[in-house]
Symmetry: C2
Subunit: 428 residues, 2 copies
Amino acid sequence: MRIMKAEQFGLQREVEYGTPEQNETVRQIVEAIKAEGDAALLRYTEQLDRVQLEASSLRVTQEEIQAAYEKVDAEFLTAIREAAVNVRVFHEKQKRNSWMDLQPDGTMLGQILRPLKRVGVYVPGGKAAYPSSVLMNVIPAQVAGVPEIVMVTPPATGGKAGIDPYILVAAAEAGVKEMYRVGGAQAIAALAYGTASIAPVDKICGPGNIYVALAKRSVFGAVDIDSIAGPSEIVVLADEGANASFIAADLLSQAEHDEMASAILVTPSETLAEAVAAEVERQLATLPREAIARASIDSYGAVLLVDSIEAGITVVNKLAPEHLEVLTADPMSLLGLIENAGAIFLGPYSSEPVGDYFAGPNHIIPTNGTARFSSPVNVDDFLKKSSLIYYSKEALLKNGNSIMTLARHEGLEAHARAIQIRLEQEGK
Amino acid sequence: MRIMKAEQFGLQREVEYGTPEQNETVRQIVEAIKAEGDAALLRYTEQLDRVQLEASSLRVTQEEIQAAYEKVDAEFLTAIREAAVNVRVFHEKQKRNSWMDLQPDGTMLGQILRPLKRVGVYVPGGKAAYPSSVLMNVIPAQVAGVPEIVMVTPPATGGKAGIDPYILVAAAEAGVKEMYRVGGAQAIAALAYGTASIAPVDKICGPGNIYVALAKRSVFGAVDIDSIAGPSEIVVLADEGANASFIAADLLSQAEHDEMASAILVTPSETLAEAVAAEVERQLATLPREAIARASIDSYGAVLLVDSIEAGITVVNKLAPEHLEVLTADPMSLLGLIENAGAIFLGPYSSEPVGDYFAGPNHIIPTNGTARFSSPVNVDDFLKKSSLIYYSKEALLKNGNSIMTLARHEGLEAHARAIQIRLEQEGK
């Protein structure tokens, strides 16, 4: 693992927009679903997923979900149930109420918060199908009060027939009642525009391959979408007293995700830098996903030396990492200085997988520096707000002239007259 | 104004994605700003706005702002100050605190809310430069606590030299301290990527022409952007007792915005329908913007007849209008049934211009049916959240096995080992 001065390091990854061919493929699929509905959905499923379905067999049955429960092991079921409780509890704390401001003249202003009505969650097939991500997408929507949450996932995963039973169980545990065996751009288009079998949704979330990402981008506007996630990132900020083995293990837990994942240690301690680099090497050797983790460490990993912890925080704020671990003598004292980080893990026992799987906060977190302006998935993502204005006669009589002044300045006479006609009726 | 059964009406407008030529123009401008900075910014300003500037003259000076105050009339200044207070008060009520959940085993979980650091507000030139929109974009950012709010606006507006003094005054009143005379796609690219004269921002908001909209779309990811607004819309839901003149005036106040604006009355009363249609005709005749309002009413306006007010609410929820006025005998009793509307105006004195200019709620509201899933501009738009996880040793010892079970099920052994290495150190 390379060790360098922080000033020498730059991390810049471009957003993936797809090739013109991929964009054209997605455009054709979306148009076909819009025009032909189920017929196109079944045709693309046969063509792309090599599975022949009928409209009546798109929906996953209650029996299949029951059968999935028979297949998952008990230890997994216990753990996912514990995790689901923690995720639910953490997200419940985010809930807000609609509010009103009642003014002495009878005017009432407010903000009404309502859940979206129908949300679609995409779950990719194959090895990218993570039960934990099902929880992280579904539970915030459910806590927000979304009455209809629908899951779509490809009909065959990783060469196996049917849907991974662990995914079905995770979805059922999270509370999903409606699941369809469709994937790819065709599933996204079906969720956005609806078909005879699948009613359209208001928002689509969940990760997928480049076709899924491009399809989500193309239906945005007709429906809302979540953000498109980039490769995973961890930054560890640590001082001399930190445990090098812990740090190396945590860096590798991100590096194993993806060759493009990024794992960075920021420290003022050369001793720690060298110890962590050595530990990374030692631990890498026995990892099942050694090749992936090594590629990630070689290309996007680094130990960055800084003059002080405060200088390290400046580096962290520039990187705006998805995950930040702070392993210093008094991590809480630094919290106020951390401006940009999607999730902040403090102290030696807050290993990042604690948050990935279990503690409760969401594991879908902004990547690629976007923690500067965006947030982990949360309950607000599934709420919409409406403004409420009940203006009293007294308020209108008092303020009508100011409103007309502003409208007329902007050349919008009809706006002014909508006020004037009311003032005139009151004899003003 | 046409009167029809609600079932016969469909309102569908496509999102504007620009022509290939417009997209290519914007791509070239954005690339040039990224590569050349100020040099390209000045070149495009000369080429497109026909104004020759130097880097040192991009920023609006304190003297110009003072001079602008000399030019605006006193009545306007009073009114915009009153409006600014109301907008600030309403948005202050939206503020939220960071929160923590302290658990008995010492674990602490939380959500940290922070303002974005730097926000850019685009203000179009010419007739589309509305002082009220400056307030509506700037004040929520300011209330959120954004320390740096920067305004950009084209150097010449509507054939006049210099920036409209009313825009300068509105920005100064809203609290903007940093303003630049640049517009178009080049201004958006400068805000997104920065130049020697203009430091990059984290989010760009504000309306603009098609080039501005395409540039915002293209820089999204490097920075956050607000949503792209469509033509304005009003739906009035009214029963027999409502005042036809008020309704007609309110419909026209939207219709005068734009030939593509939409103004719709939904009512079970044929008597009211006919009275409003006649009133619209009568009031149209004396409007300065008659041609625009008439085009809007003819193309996108309608009176929709429904069987009952409840059936009318179903229509409203399908339309998901930007603005909804409810002029019925007891409007508050219907509030719970209204699922989709950006801003809801209740009762005879809550004319829509009250909200456009003065009451306090934001006038930048989702259009084109997107109130199904999005919200008026609000303080949350300028905040980002970070998750906070401080896990205690006790919590890790208790839950470590469940975390490892979930990680290993997903094939992520390094995740499991990051937990295991800690358990082993504790002798587990």
